[in-house]
């Protein structure tokens, strides 16, 4: 699974990233790669209008707000190797 955090590196993006990492840990997901996308042109290509955004396997799961660990866990589930 490839998880991308879209954002210019503002504090919000960092919080989203750490929440996502914790969600991955709590779900015991294997083979997860984290990527940070800071290039604006690339961010825009995802159709995202507000950062930060969470992209899982090229699917935009969430943008414009920070989700907590619990919500990210539900967002990750359908992709997870555990399910």
């Amino acid at each position: 699974m490839i998880i991308k955090i879209l954002g210019s590196g503002c504090p919000n993006c960092q919080r989203l990233e750490s929440n996502a990492k914790q969600a991955v840990n709590e779900l015991n997901l294997a083979d997860v790669v984290f990527e940070k996308v800071t290039n604006y042109a690339e961010i825009a290509r995802y159709g995202v209008l507000a950062t930060p955004a969470l992209v899982v396997d090229q699917q935009v799961k969430l943008f414009g707000r920070i989700a907590d660990v619990k919500e990210i866990k539900t967002l990750l589930q359908p992709h997870g190797s555990m399910v």
Partner: protein, 331 residues
């Protein structure tokens, strides 16, 4: 706030701040220090309760009208000019974060929304936001708040229209026109528990601005407590024609989340600075900032950036004069 609620709420807050100031802290009444402390407590309580209510309301609005929906509405049909109003209104209800202005800019243009309309959104968004509104209601009352919000929307419409007419599309960085947006990729689910999400979002916003507000209120309270009434009148009266442009030009390099400035401005107004001049200063601080310009430089060539700042600066100066004429009659 309804009249009845206000009738009970304000004296209650006043009683509480009196109690804290004179009884608990045991400060001598009628001294500068006591006035300052009392003011600080009273304003802080009032502002933070308003802030909570308004961020909640805005949060609910945004659940039903998220930004991608607004954009789709703008694209969906020909609006014959009403799209400027729509874009400015949308700008008013979205929370503004300068780190989001670039994806927004690209996303709007990528969806073939005209440059002028995009600017209408971009100009109003930082000016009218929930934090500014809460502070305005708490410090200046309803009438000034409505005038301010309407002016912010009007400013976006006029600025957007003028910038659109200038045909500046060639000064947008090329890569933006080439950006292909992969719409199908977006499937943002909504959080399951909407109420919880709204409350959490509201608290998140408040937490972010709390420190600025407290500092602003503290500085405002100091001015209230220590500066004699009418002190500034001698320097910056409404008759001084240069006061508005000077205030606006001074404000551009300042960066502030809108929030810190408002209590200070209110205190300055109480001490004799004309309200119109003060509002123009505040709009320039919030609407135009150099850090924001640096961010926007990534998507605009300097000609466009200069036109954007120029048009907005001139419009704010115009508004300042207008405020100075109409506000004293209104309030």
């Amino acid at each position: 706030m309804s009249k009845k609620l206000k009738l009970y709420y304000n004296p209650m807050v006043q009683w509480f701040s009196n109690y804290l100031t004179y009884t608990l802290l045991n400060l001598q009444a009628k001294t500068h220090l006591a006035d300052t402390v009392n003011f600080f407590i009273y304003d802080s309580i009032k502002i933070f309760s308003l802030l909570f209510i308004i961020t909640l309301l805005m949060g609910v609005v945004r659940i039903y009208l998220p930004i991608q929906k607004m954009r789709d509405l703008l694209v969906s049909k020909r609006w014959f000019g009403a799209d400027y109003l729509l874009a400015a209104l949308f700008g008013a209800i979205t929370p503004f974060c300068s780190c989001s202005s670039i994806p927004l800019f690209i996303g709007f243009l990528g969806a073939r929304i005209p440059l002028g309309i995009t600017f209408a959104f971009l100009i109003t968004s930082p000016l009218v936001n929930e934090v500014a509104l809460a502070l305005f209601i708490g410090l200046f009352g309803w009438k000034v708040t409505v005038v301010y919000a309407l002016s912010g929307i009007l400013l976006g419409m006029v600025g957007g229209y003028v910038l659109g007419k200038l045909k500046l599309e060639r000064y947008v960085e090329e890569y933006i026109w080439q950006t292909k947006i992969n719409e199908s990729a977006v499937t943002t689910g909504q959080a399951k528990n909407i109420l919880r999400q709204v409350v959490r979002e509201a608290l998140g916003i408040i937490k972010k601005v709390a420190l600025y507000i407290l500092i602003g209120v503290a500085l405002g309270a100091l001015i209230h407590g220590y500066v004699p009434t009418g002190y500034f009148e001698q320097y910056l009266s409404a008759n001084n024609l240069f006061a508005v442009p000077i205030a606006v030009v001074l404000a551009v390099p300042l960066y502030s989340n809108a929030t810190g400035v408002i209590p200070i401005i209110q205190a300055l107004v109480a001490k004799g600075i004309p309200l119109g001049t003060a509002l123009a200063f505040m709009m320039a601080t919030v609407g135009l900032s150099l850090p924001e310009a640096l961010i926007l430089k990534k998507v605009m060539k300097w000609q466009l950036l200069a036109a954007f700042f120029g048009v907005v600066t001139v419009s704010i100066i115009g508004l300042g004069y207008l405020f100075n004429i109409i506000l004293p009659r209104l309030i």
